[in-house]
Each structure stands twice: as C-alpha cells, then as structure tokens.
C-alpha cells in the first residue's frame, strides 16, 4: 500500500473539473467534425477557405471549443456537479470512443 497517498476530500478545483469536461466534449467534437468533413466535402472546402487548409481550421476550432467550454464550465462550476472519478471515466470513455471512431471510419468508410 502506498502510504504517500493519504485520504482527502475527493474534490477538484473548478478549473480542473471544467477543463476535464471540456476536453471530453472537445475530443468527441473533433471526431464528429472529421466524419462530417469527410462525408460532406463542401464543408471541408469551406474550412479550407477560412484557414488556408481544412486541417488548420479544424485544429483552431478544436482549440476554441476546448478553451471556450473550459472557461464557461469553470465560471459556471457546471462540471463540479459530476463526481471526480466519474469525470475521469467520462474522459477515458470519450477518448476511447473518439479515437476508435476515427480509426474505424477511415478503415471502413
């Protein structure tokens, strides 16, 4: 047993919980946007015109969603309603679904 870990309040700071929830939503948004871009080329072309390349615009959109939702969730303390361990599970699940969703899409579609 690790004696360095002592029991304490399982609460996260508002910015931590806010940005964890934001990250979970952003990674799913990232995969959804990749699917829509691939299935609907006019969107990819439109994003290419905005940022010079669809990939550049996609990355900026991800960063804006991550930062924007992170600040909103921190201010409103919305993510604090979710238990920390559940928030961690949500993040792991979101990354697994988003990552596998990307790989399977490009293998089969």
């Amino acid at each position: 047993m690790n004696t360095a870990i002592r029991s304490g309040s399982p609460v996260l700071a508002p910015a931590t919980s806010g940005f964890v929830l934001s990250a979970a939503i952003t990674v799913v948004f990232n995969t959804a946007l990749a699917w829509v871009k691939d299935a609907y080329p006019p969107l990819s072309d439109f994003m290419g015109r905005i940022g010079g390349h669809h990939w550049t615009t996609h990355g900026v959109a991800d960063l804006l969603v991550f930062a924007g939702l992170g600040f909103v969730f921190t201010k409103t303390r919305a993510a604090e309603k979710i238990a920390p361990n559940r928030l961690t599970t949500v993040l792991i699940g979101a990354v697994a679904i988003a990552g596998l969703g990307l790989a399977l899409w490009y293998v089969f579609v």
Binding site: N2, A4, I5, R6, S7, G8, S9, P10, V11, L12, A13, A15, T16, F19, V20, A23, T26, V27, N30, T31, A34, D38, G52, H53, W55, T56, H58, G59, D62, F66, A83, P84, N85, L87, T88, L91, I92, V95, A98, G99, L102, A103, Y106, V107
Partner: protein, 162 residues
Amino acid sequence: MNISSKDIILLAHAALGVTGCMAALWVFVEALSARSESARRIQTAALVAAVCMAAAWICGGYWYVQFYPADKVLILKGPWPFAHDVFMETKEHLFFITGILAFLLPFTTREKLYTNPAARTLVLSVAGLIVVTGLAVEGAGAIIDHGVKVALLRAASKGARP
C-alpha cells in the same frame, strides 16, 4: 550531406512528439507515488509535455500543409495507398486528441495529488492517454513514411529495368 528545412521540420515534429510522450510518462510514473516533494517535478513535466506537443503541432502542421501533398501523390500511386487513406487520415485527426490532453495535463497537476486520490487517478489517466494516443500517432507516422519509401522503391525499380 544535403539536409533541407523540410527534413528538419519533419524530424523536429517527430522528436517533439516523442519528447512530449516521454514527459507524460514521467508525470505518470511520478504520480504513481505522489508526495508533496514531487509536486513541483510533476507540474514541470506536465508543462514540458504541453509545450512539446504544441511545438509538435506547429511543426507537423506546417509540414503537412506545405510539403505533404507531394508525398500523398507518391503514396497513392504506390503499393501502400492505405498509408494515406487510413493512417494519415486517422493520424492527422487523432493528433488533435493527444494535443488537447497535453494542454489539459498542466491543469490537472495543479491538484494536491498526495492528498487527493481522485485527482491522482485523473492525472494517471490523462498522462496514460497521452502516452497511448501519442505512440499510436508516432506509429502511424512510421507507416506513412514507409508508404513513401515503398512507392519510391517501386518507381526506382521500374526505372532501372531495361
């Protein structure tokens, strides 16, 4: 020796990505036995991971936009078209997930991991996800590189035939 800026940018992209993964692994190992004395080291490693991933994003993005189209044509004409159709398409979007996780890591390491088991679990999870997705991206990069190589080898062998 003829090393172009194109080569340097590509190698910097891969090297920065690996360094970011190693920094995340450092966070993971330190967090396994978190103590008050290791808090500063964990925060430093998390910051190194975030900075390296940001730099890898910029280098890789510049190379992808400026130089990859020529490689893409080669790959699609070669024997390994899936190196682009599957691996590059997945890698270019999976990298965003690794990047977002790397930017999240410094937020999570500000918690007192030695008194908060839930925060410690969170940091272990985020750092572990960075390592796993980062290594998947690195592996995809190697396959894309090999896709170019086999295309060039086939073109060269055709050119060498009498």
